[in-house]
Amino acid sequence: MLAELPLLSLLIWLPIAGGVIALLLGDERALLKPFALAIAAVTMVLSFGLYIGFDSSTHQMQFVEKAPWIETFKIFYHLGVDGFSMPLIILTTISTLLVVVAAWEVIQHRLSQYLAAFLIMEGLMLAVFSALDAVLFYVFFEAMLIPLFLVIGIWGGPNRVYATIKFFLYTFFGSVFLLLALLYLRHVSDSFAILDFHNVALSLDEQIWLLLAFLIAFAVKVPMWPVHTWLPDAHVEAPTGGSVILAAITLKIGGYGFLRFALPIAPDASLALDWLIIALSLIAVVYIGFVALAQTDLKKLIAYSSIAHMGFVTLGLFIVFDIFANAATGSGAILAIEGAMVQMISHGFISAAMFLAVGVLYDRMHTRDIQAYGGVVNTMPVFAAFAVFFAMANAGLPGTSGFVGEFMVILAAFQANFWFAFLAATTLILGAAYTLWMVKRVFFGEVANDEVQALSDINRREFWMLASLAVIVLLLGVWPEPLLDVMHTSVENLLTQVAQSKL
């Protein structure tokens, strides 16, 4: 019965419809918050249906829906998920639920529009992950910018206008190259289906141009050094919910784009240019790690740590070529891609938790400056326990999900090149340094001032919000098998595509 429901369409359109209704309800209705919560919760439960009904023994697309949309140009409403997109969909639905919960008492101004923006954005993001038609993908990929632009601009901090316009123009600039690449691929393959793009034969020159277009588009989203500068600005100014969605989901769309487009469509160019992406990833890991060390703003620190962590994702995706060159067996390559995927999911949860934790502090103190804090553990012991746990996870402590992905990528990197692994492993030191130093300054020591003295510990709502994330982070840390299991065949399929030259 589960298989017959158009589950993906439900997942996409339920939150969008819910968002529109929330907009119509207006700020006054008492019904508004329970309604938004119910929509987010139902969507999340439905997304678990994907996991239950998922067949992990095949790399074929599942839950496929296909209907003509623009017949003149053979554009289809074509949805489906595989082992890459399904976990990301669940990540999205969980994050959105948390964002709705986090907004509960905090957002006073235009609440209905706030909730509507996030519900609509949830639908759009789910559509990005499940679209199998290039135009459909691009439409949702771009449409996502609209709610996020408004969220940062309306509910953001003092410098929000600069941040949101910078965010919009950066990502828009990246994505127009994606549009060109997709239209060119249509020109060559005479189809808009993404899976047809995978099979089209392309010369090396064509592949290189396409890869560069993909690189611009997705590197901005990930973001990779040196096009990362919009992210700290956007994070700092965004309201808590905006930061959570930005870090947990939109960054992942960049990584997903590499998986879905760059690697399978342009494998030879990826081979030819992998040094470039590996170099950028390592710069992100090492240099941005040092930059994070120097931050005095809590959100900025987490933003830079996000960039460094996403460096692992791109590193894991593109070291496979060096592994192929060195090792006879493909196990290292599988490790690399799976490590990148795990890192994406885990970073989604951990960064969401970190931003929610900062949000908890910010709601009480209205400052993100590390120096304004000190000794928070004395007044907020329960909260401090959570915060230290998430900080440890962010630093990659074994037993948390943050460790699994990083460790897999570093292990794989050893099979590619010792120095890649060496540089990547510096994150274990750097990550620990900037996170733990931040923890020390904010949470430990004497109570710094009267404001900290007056802090009250987290309430029930905040407790459950953070506790649920802690459980997920811990669970994925000690038992990542369910996650690895669903993506395994998809990863193997990707690797056969990547290994096969298109020339």
Binding site: G153, F172, V176
Partner: protein, 476 residues
């Protein structure tokens, strides 16, 4: 041998002409006393004309000795011209009244100008084409000049008239060269002559240059754009709306008839010229628009950039490209209607909501209309899921399909630059505190029409298939 022309093919024009004369007489004898009748009659005329076109759809062909054509292209464009102008008259009514400009003459000029557009759309002979063009343009010049006590409007009218006349002169000169070489004025005969000619056709290219300049002037493509911002800015907003919307649809027909139907075999000449016009228009239009603080001027430069995009479809020289341009033209008209409609909506007696800052904080006082403006701006910037995105998608696709990758690249990069100034309008509406108190004087019909107008953009963004199909159907 004299043939009786097929009058059925020109029935819409005949009805419109007759009605225009009736309105003229009514205005001449009653002045402004019966203005409601004049407005009603004008709207009725546009409506009934559109209805006749729809009723008469299907069978087509040449009439009046091959100087006039009725085909799918003309039918579809005529319906759109009439509908667009109906909306223009509806939107401008309140604005004109508040400024003492709601006189019968405006409506007479509007109907005659629409007649000119219909003739342009159907013209299949250089002289008929010119006749329609001048009928339309002369009415527009007079319209801009109607606000006699305003120095800015008068200046705009003078500029419009003089530069428009130069453009017409260029166009005529080009036509005469084409005539001199091919020996005919009919579009069909020209196409045959060009196809049959052997040897050196470079003299024809000389004629094409002047044709393209004339078209460029009428469209406002860079480097022939200088009149456009001044006229858009100086003319009363209602007149700006009239100039900006339907005439572009008529100009599109002229472009197609001349270049695509008459001179398709000389595409290697006009393609390069159009590429230059398109690139310059997109670059200059988008960059200069950033510096504008006046919304009307900003929309004028944005129009210039849209013209660049629109030319991109035509210059690809394929049926798909023409259809893409047509789609762009129609979507552009819809967006322009909405954008100037918003200015008209917020303007009232003694207050012109023409500065971007006048929209500050609109989302606090009128969230619904702020949302509509948001949709318009994102659509103009080409962000999905709004209709403006598909318009850009199709013309870029057309260019890529004929391997004009560099043109497509410039197009997308300039559209990013363009996004900035559209975002600024959204920024002042949503992120800033209000400077002025917004009061809406406009009546319910206009508010509803404007809402439907803008929601159409959203609807066409979700389901663009039908209109795309219509556009491709016209060009098969």
């Amino acid at each position: 041998m004299f043939q009786v022309p097929n009058m059925l093919f020109v029935l819409p024009e005949m009805v419109m002409l007759a009605m225009a004369c009736v309105i003229l007489l009514l205005v001449a004898f009653t002045g402004t006393r019966q203005i409601h009748w004049v407005i009603g009659l004008s709207q009725f005329t546009l409506f009934i004309t559109a209805l006749i076109v729809v009723w008469n759809m299907g069978e087509g062909g040449l009439t009046f000795s091959g100087t006039y054509i009725k085909d799918n292209l003309s039918d579809v464009l005529k319906v759109f011209v009439c509908v667009i102008n109906m909306l223009v008259l509806l939107y401008s009514s309140r604005y004109l009244k508040a400024r003492g400009l709601r006189q019968g003459e405006f409506y007479v000029l509007a109907v005659f100008s629409t007649l000119g557009m219909l003739i342009m759309v159907s013209a299949y002979h250089l002289l008929t084409l010119y006749l329609g063009l001048e009928l339309m343009s002369l009415c527009l010049y007079a319209m801009v000049a109607m606000q006699r006590d305003s120095a800015v409007a008068t200046e705009a009218a003078m500029k419009y008239f003089i530069l428009g006349s130069i453009a017409s002169g260029m166009l005529l000169y080009g036509m005469s060269i084409i005539y001199g070489i091919t020996g005919s004025l009919g579009i069909n005969d020209i196409a045959l002559a060009v196809a049959g000619s052997v040897g050196d056709d470079s003299i024809l290219s000389f004629g094409i240059v002047f044709l393209v300049i004339g078209i460029g002037f009428k469209y406002g493509a860079v480097p022939f754009h200088m009149w456009l911002p001044d006229v858009y800015h100086g003319a009363p907003t209602a007149m700006t709306l009239f100039i900006a919307a339907a005439p572009k649809v008529a100009a599109f027909a002229m472009l197609i008839r001349l270049l695509a139907e008459g001179l398709l075999d000389l595409q290697h000449y006009w393609q390069d010229m159009l590429i230059m016009l398109a690139l310059l228009s997109m670059i200059i239009g988008n960059i200069v628009a950033i510096a504008q603080s006046n919304l009307k001027r900003m929309l004028a430069y944005s129009t210039i950039s849209h013209v660049g995009f629109l030319l991109m479809g035509v210059l690809s020289g394929t049926d798909e490209g023409f259809a893409a341009s047509m789609f762009y033209t129609l979507i552009y008209a819809l967006m322009t209607l909405g954008a100037f409609g918003m200015i008209l909506l917020l303007s009232r007696q003694g207050f012109e909501a023409e500065n971007i800052d006048d929209f500050k904080g609109l989302s606090d006082s009128h969230p619904w209309f702020a949302l509509l403006m948001l949709i318009l701006m994102f659509s103009m910037a080409g962000i999905p899921p709004l209709a403006g995105f598909y318009a850009k998608l199709l013309v870029i696709k057309a260019a890529i399909d004929v391997d004009l990758l560099l043109v497509a690249l410039v197009a997308v990069v300039t559209s990013v630059i363009g996004a900035f100034y559209y975002l600024r309008v959204i920024k002042v509406m949503y992120f800033d505190k209000p400077l002025v108190t917004h009061r809406l004087d406009a009546g319910r019909p206009m508010q509803i029409a404007l809402s439907v107008n803008v929601l159409m953009i959203l609807l066409l963004g979700l389901f663009p298939g039908a209109l795309m199909q219509l556009c491709s159907f016209v060009f098969v």
